[in-house]
């Protein structure tokens, strides 16, 4: 993503809303889509979610007051769209919802010998992506916000609507679970 000038965008939006919106979409489309992909797991529903997100952004832009950064506001809308999708899906399939506390994440003592022996596996993005896909969707979303969008904890709290402590705890659990899954996979393989 190139540098997106938020102030310039808001000025452009006042004069030429549609062309400004296209600029905004070019800047955020792939990131919003990636978040939706993490929530939905498949391309088609992810595209539907991303489209729903941009429709809400278009409808809400006139009311945007700049209380948070534009990026945070966009991710907040994306989060809401994804969260309601996950909630609907989880109530239909009995999966954990975005508000569920996940007790499975636990500290995993890591062994350097396992890590050293499998460093090539760890360097394989596909391996990590496969592990990531095994996490509950809310944890995938939180990890993506943290690593990809590089939001601060305060921004993540604004995006998710969760208290700061919950954001940190969820992130911590997600990482622990990733480690646990990684070592479980490697032990199975070896």
């Amino acid at each position: 993503m190139g540098v997106f000038d938020e102030r310039q965008f808001l000025e452009d939006y006042r004069l030429h809303p549609e062309s400004a919106f296209r600029q905004l979409m070019d800047a955020f489309r792939d990131r919003v889509y990636l978040l939706c992909l993490r929530a939905a797991g498949q391309r088609q529903p992810a595209e539907d979610l991303a489209q729903e997100t941009f429709i809400r952004i278009w409808k809400g832009l006139a009311q945007f007051r700049g209380e948070s950064s534009l990026a945070t506001w966009i991710y907040h809308i994306t989060w809401n769209v994804c969260a309601s999708f996950i909630d609907k899906k989880s109530s239909a399939q009995g999966m954990p919802s975005v508000d569920d506390e996940d007790a499975e994440g636990r500290e995993m003592d890591m062994n350097l010998s396992i890590y050293d022996a499998n460093i090539k596996t760890f360097e394989n993005r596909q391996f990590i992506s496969t592990l990531l896909a095994k996490l509950p969707a809310p944890q995938q979303l939180v990890l993506t916000l943290f690593y990809l969008q590089e939001l601060t904890y305060e921004e993540m709290s604004s995006v998710t609507g969760w208290p700061l402590g919950t954001v940190k705890a969820t992130l911590h659990r997600a990482k622990d679970r990733m480690r646990a899954l990684a070592f479980k996979e490697l032990q199975i393989e070896s």
């Binding site: 489309r29 391309r43 278009w58 062994n111 350097l112 460093i119 690593y147």
Partner: protein, 194 residues
């Protein structure tokens, strides 16, 4: 005293254990190191050096740090996945539909149509009552007349008696009934769209 100064001035936040899993004394314990790795707090030069030293000494934390690095690399891919080529076309089609509803040129007149419908239904309802009064031989007017006569000295019952029972009464009846039905449908559709 020197120990306390070391704890609270040189190392902050203070480490309460001070021993790594490898069993050697370091300036950083595993718990603090994991916290530094876990959370994206900006590290100062001293903290960075201390973390680096600790990772060199503690295999478990080194493994955590390694996995953290790979996790970051995998989750934040260089090449982001892109939606299909039809994505934007479908989105703008959806937005066009939304805009048609949002900026409906009839919409500013919606309130006028609403009030006109209410007025038409009211007139039609009065017409219906009037037809029923005619067909019932003016009993309602006769009752009202008995109430009003003492006050105004007018015999309202006679007004009813001169109302003709003609074909046009049937026309009024059917027309008003039609207006009520159509008006009700318009009102329901308008409220559903809003």
């Amino acid at each position: 005293m020197r120990f306390l100064l070391y704890r609270f001035l040189d190392e902050w936040p203070p480490s309460f254990f001070g021993w790594s899993q490898s069993g050697r004394r370091t300036t950083l314990d595993c718990r603090s190191a994991r916290r530094m790795l876990d959370f994206r707090n900006p590290l100062g030069e001293t903290e960075r050096a201390r973390l680096h030293t600790h990772l060199g000494e503690c295999p478990a934390c080194a493994a955590v740090a390694g996995l953290e690095r790979h996790l970051r690399a995998a989750i934040a891919p260089v090449e982001l996945p892109r939606p299909s080529v039809e994505f934007e076309m479908i989105l703008f089609e959806k937005l066009e539909v939304g805009k048609t509803v949002q900026y409906d040129p009839i919409a500013p007149w919606g309130w006028f149509i609403g009030w006109l419908t209410i007025a038409a239904i009211s007139v039609a309802a009065i017409a219906q009552m009037w037809v029923h009064i005619i067909s019932s031989g003016g009993r309602l007017i006769g009752y009202l007349a008995s109430l009003l006569k003492p006050a105004y000295g007018i015999d309202f019952a006679n007004l009813v008696s001169i109302m003709p029972r003609r074909f046009d009464v049937m026309v009024v009846y059917l027309a008003s009934l039609t207006i009520i039905i159509i008006g009700t449908i318009i009102a329901i559709r308008t409220s559903a769209r809003d």
